[in-house]
Amino acid sequence: MLEKRLLEEILGIATSSGADFAEVYCEYTRNGRIHYVNRRVEAISDETVSGVGIRAFRGTSTVYASTADISRAGLIRCARSVAEAMGECGEGARVMLTERIFPNIHPARIQPSTADIRFKCDLVRLACDSAYGYSDKIVQAAGNLITVDHTIQIANTEGLLTTDRHIRSRMSVEAIATNGTENQSGGCRPGRGMGLEFFEEYTPEMIGREAAEEAVGNLDAVYCPAGQMPVAIENGFGGVIFHEACGHSLEATSVGTGCSQMCGKLGQVIANEKVTAIDDGTIPGAWGSVNIDDEGNPTQRNVLIENGVLKSYMVDRLGSRRMGMPMTGNSRRESYLYEPTSRMTNTFIDNGPDRNEDIIASIEYGLYAKSMGGGSVNPLTGAFNFSVNEGYMVRNGKICERVRGAALIGTGSEILKDIDMVGQNLATGQGMCGSSSGSVPTDVGQPLIRVSKITVGGR
């Protein structure tokens, strides 16, 4: 990390051409990856990510420069390039930094960067062995253990100087099942903002088995019929529906530029009254949690929608300037190479009033989406899509045959109103969310919900 005096000098240079605010973001990250396939550890790689990003604001105009050259000369050059892009250089701001450390609410017990490599290899092996052990139809189990040990330092012209360290661990298993004529795949990819102790709770055996179950189950699935129908979407990664259909449209990235279907709707009813949705970056050890965001603000619990009424957006510093609203601790970036922007952390629909069994029983003909894949959205129009990894037809309130190849599409504003039943088994699932500031870990979540009608794409 950089010395205080050097940071003060950099901030002075960055503000020497008329900027009214500047910030330095310094990163040192150790990424590790173990890849297991064909019943053996195939490749192990690790990476040191190291660099600095300097940003300056004048009003709502920003300049950002990043460099992997963290020598004093490299950093001064980088700060000058920021100032020169903003205007004629003159006197910079005099900055007095005061160090402030925020409490670590996500402590890691088993540090992945220093844990024994064979111990880590064995975790992935156990997961893949468990997939093979589930059924003799499993012909391949490919596993990855991904670990991140991320230290950041943030300083800005408001005098803030802070550091934080964040640990993440994630395992993924992709299983391939065959019936002799065709192959099907299944996956399981849990992660937490924790050390390797996470795998004591969510064991490698569970991960391998879940991947294998999905792959084997898909062998017997028929293609999903196409058309509009009611859909019950299960908890956990099912919450990707809210993430895509609404979450992105509540980020200042799109609201602040007028490019969101949710602009100007604060205080209005935008969803069924059973829907309360929350973004909470403070959940201990959750995949999308961090102590501080990438502008140095502590994360917080933001109620986005309460009983159907829009209560809050997710706002970063630039969004705050554009929208005249306070920051909400949602500024995030993949690395120092990216200028930060407003992003989700752990976003979920909260438990509702309906019993889960009543939700399935209420569907005469529809789809039960038990496990979801990812999706995407256009925040301007709200048009979203996401895929169903494990689905079943529902007839007369009973779960029937398994189906595959289904996609769900719609628009956010419509679907929020069409969520007409909300169950009580809230759980989260993990994803990597891509946007202009790169790929960041986010949790999605919900209890079982019913959408009264949605277009199901199938054949």
Binding site: N31, H35, N38, R40, V41, A43, I44, S45, D46, E47, T48, S50, G51, S61, T62, V63, Y64, A65, S66, T67, A68, D69, C78, S81, A85, I117, R118, V139, Q140, A142, E174, I176, N183, S185, Y223, C224, A226, G227, Q228, T257, G258, C259, L337, E339, G373, G374, G375, L380, T381, A383, N385, S387, G405, A407, I409, T411, T455, G457, G458, R459
Partner: protein, 450 residues
């Protein structure tokens, strides 16, 4: 530290550990971009980036370690980490580090001339203004961006291979937001440019982005059913980007490709020929060597529907008794060696756009597909994707349609291609890979709409 100092520090550390077989893969780059929002410059950014990946052989196992931190202490650490990683790797290495000795083709890629920040700024402002001038329905939220991105690669190994290449891309992007009849829509256009072609490219982008955004206004729904579909070249190349992994010999060996055991067989309609040409005409990025340092050449992967070869690196070639196609690749500088195409394209056919549309009477021209990262499964070939486009009647594009899904299986689709357009739509390079396709007509595809 410059590369020569880094290399010297590494070689010293390698010698101290008794490592004799190794490769240093080094990338460095510099990016500049200027963006406008509503005609005003809202942000500019620059980056000086790079990283180094060390690959070494220890006791018959390959170990990797990478860093962006270029100092002497880190180089010593890197060697220790790579040795430790090799020690825990269980797969025996079968090919070692590339020994060299082969001829490289001359580079046909034009030399990269980065565009200065002041010129990027001027072009972004000009494009921002042109987007608004193109139609009075263009709204706030409209964005333009000018980018200049250059990078260098260096591969040095213990067998004396020492390769270097520089390339880069200058590009303009216009994203138009339009409002009409109470509805907002957007679309974008992305094109490479140079200072000499700036004016022409700006007017093309502004025209296309605004026209495409306006064409979506008032889009209707399409009834569910089976339709003839013309996938625009841009959409077909997106499908190719997802399903190209099936052509990788690595996926075949790992049991993750539906093309396993299909060599020499017909896997596509006879009109389909697929090539991988690292130095395709018109490319700004193209390598004369792959990520192991092996010389690259053009390969015909599928000829008139018949699968000729998988894409190989040296290891997969040895495992399958084939010759490498020089498709060794890295997803990023720090990634282990994998397999990816260079410039993977369905070669254009003979039909004009009008002829294709006449063959697809009552069908749908698909101009947008979303969610490919989730709704398309390369292991099975199945896809079900959100789409938008236009109805086809009397050989013409008629009303816009949106919010439907198109579903099928990519490998069945390849077999049922009825005709190909005569114009290749080649995408901009992502990393070292690009995809391309002409418009593709397929009958009897499933659509779910209203």
């Amino acid at each position: 530290m410059n590369f020569e100092l880094i290399k010297a520090a590494l070689i010293k550390a390698l010698a101290e550990e008794g490592i004799t077989e190794y490769e240093i893969y080094y990338t460095s780059g510099s990016d500049n971009s200027v963006e406008t929002l509503n005609k005003e410059v809202c942000s500019s950014s620059s980056s000086v980036n790079g990283g180094l990946c060390l690959r070494l052989l220890k006791d018959g196992r390959m170990g990797y370690a990478s860093t962006q931190l270029m100092d002497e202490g880190e180089m010593g650490e890197l060697v220790i980490r790579a040795i430790e990683n090799a020690g825990a790797t269980e797969k025996p290495d079968t090919v070692g580090i590339y020994e060299g000795g082969e001829e490289y083709e001359e580079s046909r890629i034009p030399e990269f001339s980065p565009i200065a920040t002041a010129d990027l700024r001027r072009a972004a402002i000009e494009l921002g203004g042109s987007l608004f001038d193109a139609d009075e329905r263009v709204q706030n939220g409209t964005v333009s961006q000018a980018i200049s991105s250059g990078f260098d690669i260096r591969i040095v190994n213990s067998h004396g291979v020492d390769l270097a290449m520089s390339c880069g891309v200058n590009a303009l992007i216009g994203q138009a937001v339009v409002a009409d009849k109470g509805e907002m829509q957007e679309d974008y256009s992305f094109k490479e440019y140079s200072v000499a072609t700036e004016g022409e490219v700006i007017s093309e982008i502004a025209g296309e982005a605004v026209k495409d955004a306006l064409s979506k206004i008032g889009a209707g729904l399409v009834p569910s059913g089976k339709y003839s579909i013309v996938f625009s070249g841009k959409q077909m190349r997106s499908l190719m980007s997802v399903f190209s992994s099936a052509f990788s010999a690595k996926a075949v060996i790992d049991g993750m490709s539906p093309l396993k055991n299909k060599l020499g067989e017909s896997i596509a309609a006879p009109v389909v020929t697929i090539t991988d040409d690292p130095q395709r005409e018109g490319s700004s990025v193209g390598l004369t060597f792959d990520a192991e340092g092996v010389p690259t050449h053009r390969h015909e992967i599928v000829t008139e529907g018949v699968l000729n070869t998988f894409l190989h690196n040296r290891e997969t070639a040895k495992a399958m008794g084939a010759k490498t196609t020089a498709n060794a690749s890295k997803a990023g500088y720090a990634s282990p060696i994998g397999v990816r195409p260079h410039s993977f394209c369905i070669e254009p056919g003979e039909k004009t756009n009008e002829e294709l549309l006449l063959m697809a009477e009552g069908g749908v021209y698909v101009t947008e597909m979303k969610g490919l990262h989730a709704g398309a499964n390369p292991v099975t070939g199945d896809f079900s994707l959100e789409a938008a486009g236009f109805m086809i009647r009397d050989g013409k594009l008629c009303e816009a349609v949106k919010s439907f899904t198109v579903a099928g299986n990519f490998f069945e689709l390849l077999k049922s291609v009825a005709a190909l357009g005569n114009k290749l739509e080649r995408g901009v390079q992502t990393g070292f890979t690009a995809f391309g396709s002409p418009d593709v007509l397929v009958h009897e595809m499933s659509i779910a709409g209203k």
